[in-house]
C-alpha cells in the first residue's frame, strides 16, 4: 500500500478508454423560479406586457445558470434590452411587409373572392425564418466554460426546407412529421458549433416513427375522447425529446436520453387542472362583476341582461378586460412553472453525456447574432420560449 502513495515511474496503463457517461445536473430551486415568474407576471400586468423581454431573459438566465454539465454551469448572456430593440426593429420591417401583404391580397381578391387566403402561407414561411434566427440568437448567448455556442446557415434556406416538409406532412396527415423533424434538426445541428466543435444530428426519422406510430393511430380517437389527448400528447413529447436528445452530437461528445414515455404526462394533467381552476375563478369573477355593474345601473337584473346594454356597458367591459389579463397572466405562471421549469428538470434528469473530455479544450470561435430574429418571432407570434 505504501508504494501507491508515490507517483508511479511508468505511466499508468490507460483506464477504460471510454469514461462513464456523465449525467447533467440541475441545481435551481423550484421556489426561486416560482418567485421569478410570479414577480415577472406582476410586472407584465403593470407594464401591459412590455416587461416580457426582461422576464423571458431572467427565465433563461435562471435555467441556463443552474444547468451543470460535467460540473460546470452554463450561462445565458442575452439581455432584455436586446430583445426590446430586436422587437422594435422587427416591427419597423414588418409594418411595410404587412402593408404589402394587404395590397397584394387586395389585388388577389379582385381576381377571385377569398383568393388572398393562400397568402397566409407567406407568413408561415416568414415564421420559419424567424424561428431559425431566434434560435441563432439564443445559441450565441449560450456560454459554457467561457466559450459560446454559435450558428451558421441561412434562415431562408431553413424556411424553404421547413415549408416543403410542412407541406409533405400536411399531405400525409402528419405521417411525414418524424422525417420532417429529422431533416430540420440535421440542418440546424450541422450549422451549430460549440467553439470549433461542430455539431451534428444523427437521429433518424424512421426511429422516431417506429417509437411513435401508434400515437398517430390514436390521435383521431383523442379528437372525440378528450381525456385521452393529454396522454397521447405527453407520450409524443416524451418520445420526441428522447429521440431528439439522443441524436445530438458535438464532435465526439454524445448525448443520450432515457426519458420514459410516461415521464411528462403528469405535467400536462397538472396544467389542465390549473386551467380548470383558474377558469372557474375567472367565470366567478365575471359573474360577480356583471352583478355589480347591473346593480349599479339601476335596472332590474333581467332587464339589464336582456337588453343590448349588457354587451355595451363600458364598466363591465373594462372589468372583464382586467380580469382576463389577470387570468392570462396566471395561466402564464402555471405554464412556465410546469411546462418550462419542471419539464426542463425532468428532461435534463434523463440525459447522459459521454465523450465530454473532447470538449475540455475547445477554442472559442463565432460571434454574436442580433436579436432581430427573436423580434420577428415575437411579432409573428411564433416564439419558442
Amino acid at each position: 500500500m505504501n508504494q501507491m502513495s508515490w507517483p508511479p515511474l511508468v505511466p499508468p496503463p490507460p483506464l477504460s478508454p471510454v469514461p462513464p457517461p456523465m449525467p447533467v445536473a440541475f441545481s435551481g430551486r423550484r421556489g426561486e423560479f416560482f418567485d421569478l415568474v410570479k414577480r415577472g407576471a406582476g410586472l407584465e400586468f403593470v407594464t401591459l406586457g412590455f416587461y416580457r423581454f426582461w422576464l423571458l431573459t431572467d427565465i433563461r438566465r435562471h435555467l441556463w445558470a443552474n444547468t451543470l454539465v460535467d460540473g460546470d454551469a452554463a450561462e445565458y448572456t442575452g439581455r432584455g434590452k436586446e430583445l426590446l430593440i430586436g422587437f422594435l426593429v422587427a416591427l419597423a420591417i414588418l409594418l411595410p411587409v404587412y402593408l404589402g401583404y394587404f395590397l397584394v391580397g387586395l389585388e388577389a381578391e379582385h381576381i377571385q373572392a377569398f383568393a388572398s387566403i393562400p397568402l397566409v402561407a407567406f407568413f408561415y414561411v416568414f415564421g420559419q425564418f424567424a424561428i431559425y434566427r431566434a434560435r441563432r440568437y439564443r445559441l450565441t448567448r449560450t456560454v459554457w466554460r467561457g466559450v459560446r455556442f454559435w450558428m451558421t446557415g441561412s434562415g431562408w434556406a431553413y424556411a424553404a426546407r421547413a415549408t416543403m416538409w410542412g407541406l409533405l406532412s400536411a399531405v400525409t396527415l402528419g405521417l411525414a412529421l418524424p422525417w420532417r423533424t429529422a431533416a430540420l434538426e440535421r440542418y440546424k445541428m450541422r450549422h451549430t458549433f460549440y467553439g470549433d466543435l461542430q455539431g451534428s444530428f444523427v437521429g433518424r426519422g424512421w426511429e422516431f416513427f417506429k417509437r411513435g406510430w401508434w400515437l398517430w393511430l390514436l390521435t383521431p380517437i383523442a379528437l372525440y375522447v378528450f381525456p385521452l389527448a393529454p396522454f397521447i400528447y405527453g407520450a409524443f413529447k416524451a418520445i420526441e425529446w428522447r429521440w431528439w436528445l439522443s441524436g445530438i452530437r458535438f464532435g465526439s461528445v454524445r448525448v443520450e436520453s432515457s426519458l420514459t414515455r410516461s415521464a411528462l404526462i403528469g405535467l400536462y394533467w397538472k396544467v389542465i387542472g390549473w386551467i380548470v381552476v383558474l377558469g372557474l375563478v375567472f367565470s366567478a369573477y365575471l359573474a360577480l362583476s356583471a352583478a355589480l355593474v347591473a346593480s349599479m345601473s339601476g335596472d332590474s337584473f333581467g332587464e339589464f341582461f336582456k337588453s343590448q346594454e349588457f354587451m355595451k356597458s363600458i364598466p363591465l367591459l373594462v372589468l372583464a378586460g382586467i380580469g382576463y389579463l389577470v387570468f392570462a397572466l396566471a395561466m402564464n405562471i402555471v405554464i412556465r412553472v410546469y411546462l418550462l421549469r419542471d419539464l426542463w428538470v425532468r428532461v435534463l434528469g434523463s440525459v447522459n453525456v459521454s465523450g465530454i473530455e473532447t470538449a475540455a479544450n475547445v477554442s472559442a470561435r463565432g460571434g454574436m447574432a442580433s436579436a432581430l430574429g427573436e423580434g420577428f418571432a415575437d411579432g409573428l407570434d411564433v416564439g419558442g420560449f
Binding site: 406586457g49 426582461w54 445558470a65 451543470l68
Partner: protein
C-alpha cells in the same frame, strides 16, 4: 504592479485562494490561485495568467454556491469561478462595482415607468391621433383605389352571404327610381351603384368606392317606401363621408397599435379584439349618427318624413335582439327613432313610389321575369 514571485501559495485565505478560471479563448478549465493584491491576480503555478482591476470585475450568472466573475477589460467570456464562500465574500468586498450592471430596483422602476409612458402614448394615439389621421388621410386616398377595395369586398360579401343580385324588371325599375331620387337629393353623382341582394338578413350596407346594397330581408320587414328610402339615404351618407375608408384606416391602425401593447401574453388576441371593438365601435357610432343626420336632411329635402326609417330600425332590432346584425356598432334604435321623429314635418312632397311600384320593389327577389 507587485510581482512577489516568492509567494507561491498564499498562506491564508485573507490574501487569496484557489478558483477555476476560463480564459475566454478556450474551454480549458484551469485551477488557479487568486491573489488579492492591488489588483486581482490570477496565477497558475508560477505564471500570472491575468490581473483584473477590482473596479472592472462584474458578477456573472451562476448556480447557488458559486461566485462567477467576469471583467470588463478581459475577454468578454473570461470567467473566474470561486466556490469557497470565505474567499467569495472577500472578493465581493474588494470589487465595489460588482453589481453595477445588474438591473436593480431602480432599473425595474425605469422599465415600468417607460412602459407606462409608452402605453399611455399608444392609448392617446389610438383615442385621439388615429381618428384625426383617418380624417386627414381619407381624402388623400385615390377614388380608384377605394373602388378596387370595394370590388374586393363585393365578391367576398356575395360569397359570404351566398347572395345573388335580385333584378326582376319591375322591381328593379322601382328600385332605380327610388335610388335616383335619393341620390339626386343627396348630391351624389351617377357613379353610385346599388342593388338588392337575396339574403334573409335584415341589413343594408355601403362598400368603399360607391356601392350600396340592400338585403331582401330588410325589404321584407319594411312597410312603406319611406322606410327603405331613409335606409338608402343613410348608406349614401356613409358613401358621401367615405366612412368605410376612414373606418379601414382607423381599424387597421388600432389593431396594430393595441397589438404592439399586449404582445405575447397568451391568448391576447381576444384582448386585442375586445379593446379594438371598444374603441372602434365608439368611433363607428359617431359615423352612424352623422349618417343618420345626413339621411334626415335628404328625406326632408324630398319632403318626406324620416320617422318611418326609425320605426323600421326599431322593428328590426326589436325582433333581432342582440344578434350579429349591423346594429351592434350603431346607436340605440330608440335614440335613433327619437332623433328621426324630432322636428319631423308632415309629408309635403309626393310619395317616392306609387303603391304599385312599392309592391314591385317588395317582390324584387321573388320571381324572375
Amino acid at each position: 504592479m507587485a510581482m512577489d514571485s516568492d509567494i507561491q501559495i498564499p498562506a491564508n485565505l485573507s490574501s487569496g485562494g484557489s478558483a477555476a478560471y476560463f480564459d475566454g479563448t478556450s474551454s480549458r478549465r484551469r485551477m488557479v490561485t487568486l491573489r488579492l493584491a492591488d489588483r486581482l491576480e490570477i496565477d497558475e503555478g508560477e505564471q500570472t495568467l491575468a490581473a483584473w482591476a477590482y473596479s472592472d470585475v462584474r458578477r456573472a450568472d451562476s448556480p447557488a454556491g458559486v461566485l462567477r466573475l467576469s471583467c470588463l477589460t478581459a475577454p468578454a467570456l473570461a470567467r473566474l469561478e470561486v466556490r469557497d464562500t470565505g474567499l467569495a465574500g472577500e472578493l465581493v468586498l474588494h470589487c465595489t462595482s460588482i453589481d453595477d450592471h445588474m438591473i436593480g430596483r431602480r432599473g425595474v422602476a425605469a422599465i415600468v415607468g417607460w412602459s407606462i409612458a409608452a402605453a399611455a402614448s399608444i392609448v392617446a394615439v389610438v383615442l385621439f391621433g388615429l381618428p384625426l389621421i383617418a380624417d386627414r388621410l381619407t381624402p388623400l386616398v385615390p377614388e380608384a383605389f377605394e373602388r378596387r377595395l370595394g370590388e374586393a369586398a363585393d365578391s367576398q360579401v356575395k360569397t359570404m352571404f351566398d347572395a345573388r343580385v335580385c333584378d326582376n324588371p319591375a322591381g328593379q325599375k322601382a328600385f332605380d327610381k327610388l335610388v335616383t331620387a335619393i341620390r339626386e337629393s343627396a348630391g351624389l353623382d351617377t357613379s353610385v351603384q346599388s342593388g338588392v341582394l337575396s339574403s334573409p338578413v335584415p341589413n343594408a350596407f355601403a362598400l368603399p368606392g360607391g356601392k350600396v346594397y340592400l338585403f331582401n330581408g330588410l325589404l321584407a320587414k319594411a312597410e312603406n317606401a319611406d322606410e327603405i328610402a331613409g335606409v338608402l339615404a343613410h348608406e349614401l351618407g356613409h358613401l358621401k363621408h367615405r366612412d368605410s375608408m376612414r373606418g379601414l384606416i382607423h381599424n387597421g391602425g388600432t389593431s396594430f397599435l393595441i397589438g404592439l401593447l399586449f404582445g405575447d401574453i397568451t391568448g391576447s388576441s381576444a384582448l386585442i379584439f375586445g379593446s379594438r371593438t371598444l374603441v372602434t365601435s365608439s368611433h363607428s357610432r359617431e359615423a352612424e349618427t352623422n349618417a343618420d343626420s345626413f339621411a334626415i336632411d335628404v328625406m326632408h329635402r324630398l319632403g318626406r318624413p324620416a320617422k318611418p326609417t326609425g320605426e323600421l330600425l326599431l322593428r328590426v332590432t326589436g325582433k333581432e335582439g342582440k344578434g350579429l346584425s349591423i346594429v351592434s356598432t350603431h346607436p340605440l334604435s330608440e335614440d335613433r327613432l327619437a332623433r328621426m321623429s324630432r322636428q319631423d314635418p308632415p309629408a309635403s312632397g309626393p310619395p317616392l313610389l306609387s303603391a304599385e311600384e312599392w309592391k314591385a320593389l317588395k317582390s324584387i327577389c321573388s320571381a324572375n321575369i
